[in-house]
Symmetry: C2
Subunit: 317 residues, 2 copies
């Protein structure tokens, strides 16, 4: 097996120890109502309570902690404009590293403010993927800053794996574990840890029907592009990458697709009944469980709630 | 001291033990961001995570558990149409007691459905307080059902006291404790327990400026009516009663009034930053702390978040 991608569990545990001073071991919640509704025994790993409100903190932190001192002195740069940018800036701030984020000039002020509030610098560019990548690469070439990818990078995937390590430490007898899938970094990290801890565990993902490139990638064996995805689950509009796809191919049993209405139902249900804020992306695996009750009947399932960063002014209900 | 109202701590502890199989010892959350914002060390007692989503479960449960077997066989009745009705119905269901709720015929379907979902019977009446009380009393006279009051009844106040017992068991060195005040049942119960556990602790309440009858009651020494209160904090539109007022008079240091905009700011802040759903009433004590930072500077404060039952379609943001 390719160790450069398939990091051994022993290394993931070292990474977890290294992370611990800087992340929350987030709580695992249960809900009798949800168990009744779904016919499962479900355990919700609440990464919405993670620092900066999402699991991305784990991967970004490890992306920086894995650098040597010379690299750290040059700083880090990314072109994410979402949770990963904030996670990288907060991690960099904690570790005393300079962080720069390339953002489209059209990005919402609230996102720019968030990056600045964590001490990040912003470089604006045209609102295309090409312009963002070009600006990032140019900045990296000029300054020596290390580029970090939100989902398709070994260190980021490894860093993400620790949410699964924590839930399996608390509940070692889970039958299955499920995450949302967008760029693939959370799913790959989760699968990598979970399957090495317990080879019998089944790993699933939920994906929006309107952004089902990962589903088709798994079916065809070729990474499919995400073309004009229109889904409320804004964290899941990206596509898989060559670092996480082999892990997903090897370990993931099935990707379950859900409609927008099912995502919104699941999100509202969790808000109303469990009284916690989850972002639409987090509702996707919840909707997947409700979509296919036979598959999960009477099973113990770990659900990674990826985050809780929601624009309150744009709620779908 | 009048023991018929001022229940000794030893009895409150017996009540707590009796409740324990049927209620959650709800988590106490902290937030570094909130501590930074407020200049306090705050501890949030999350009754939004209580069964049926509010502290009312504690008082309703005790209201029924305190009955003798003959009384239980006749059932219970109330004319609350809010959280207390649901709490009473769920408590009654758990304890195998018949529950009836008098509701105005204009009450929202969602509230009627909630009562029915907990196995409660509904009697409809005209939408006035007089009609509700008349219908309740008539039903009680005919059937022998015991009337329960949402806030102005010794057993309900005593039952509510256990949230304070729990937070003070976890954090015995709190300098102050604060609740919202509407009907006064939570504030009185909290004060009753807290002051007997630690006579040095200061007890505060937050109240909407637009429904500040408790503030004026405390100032004047006479229970003031709540006349046409217009506040988003729908749980706080009621007025104090003769059972809880003496406790509040004896033990409460100050009632801090807050504007509607401050309630909404606090609610949104808690949702966005702590990722938990709280109802507007719960945001009132949070807003009170932010209103008067000098009063609470560097203090350890227990905040009772009263509940999390929110109509998602009617959010103020």
């Amino acid at each position: 097996m390719d160790k450069t991608i398939f990091t051994p569990l022993s290394e993931l545990k070292v990474i977890h120890e290294r992370q611990k001073p800087y992340i929350h071991n987030t709580p695992v919640l249960t809900s009798r109502s949800f168990n009744d509704l779904s016919g499962t025994k479900s355990y919700f790993k609440c990464e919405n309570f993670q620092k900066m409100g999402a699991f991305k903190m784990r991967g970004a932190l490890n992306g920086i902690m894995a650098l040597n001192e010379t690299e750290k002195s040059k700083g880090v740069v990314t072109h994410s404009s979402g949770n990963f940018a904030q996670a990288m800036c907060l991690s960099a701030k904690i570790l005393g590293v300079k962080a720069t984020v390339v953002m489209p000039r059209t990005a919402p002020k609230v996102k720019k403010d968030a990056v600045r509030s964590y001490g990040g610098f912003i470089i604006e560019c045209e609102p295309t993927l090409e312009a963002r990548e070009a600006a990032m690469n140019e900045f990296s070439r000029k300054t020596g800053a290390v580029t970090l990818h939100p989902s398709n990078q070994k260190e980021v995937i490894d860093g993400n794996s620790t949410a699964a390590i924590e839930i399996l430490e608390a509940y070692p007898d889970l039958d299955a574990i499920i995450t949302p899938v967008g760029g693939g970094g959370l799913l790959a990290g989760t699968a990598l840890a979970a399957k090495q801890i317990n080879p019998e565990i089944l790993v699933y993902a939920g994906e929006p029907m309107n952004a089902d490139d990962a589903f088709h990638s798994l079916r065809t064996g070729i990474i499919q592009p995400s073309i004009n995805p229109e889904t409320i689950a804004d964290g899941l509009r990206t596509q898989l990458g060559d670092k996480n796809f082999p892990i997903i191919q090897k370990y993931v049993t099935e990707i379950i697709r859900v409609e927008e209405s099912e995502i919104i139902f699941a999100m509202k249900w969790i808000w109303e009944r469990m009284k916690i804020i989850i972002e639409p992306s987090s509702a996707v695996p919840v909707a997947a469980i409700l979509k296919d009750p036979k598959l999960f009947m009477n099973k113990k399932i770990g659900i990674i709630l990826s985050g809780g960063n929601v624009e309150m002014e744009k709620l779908p209900f």
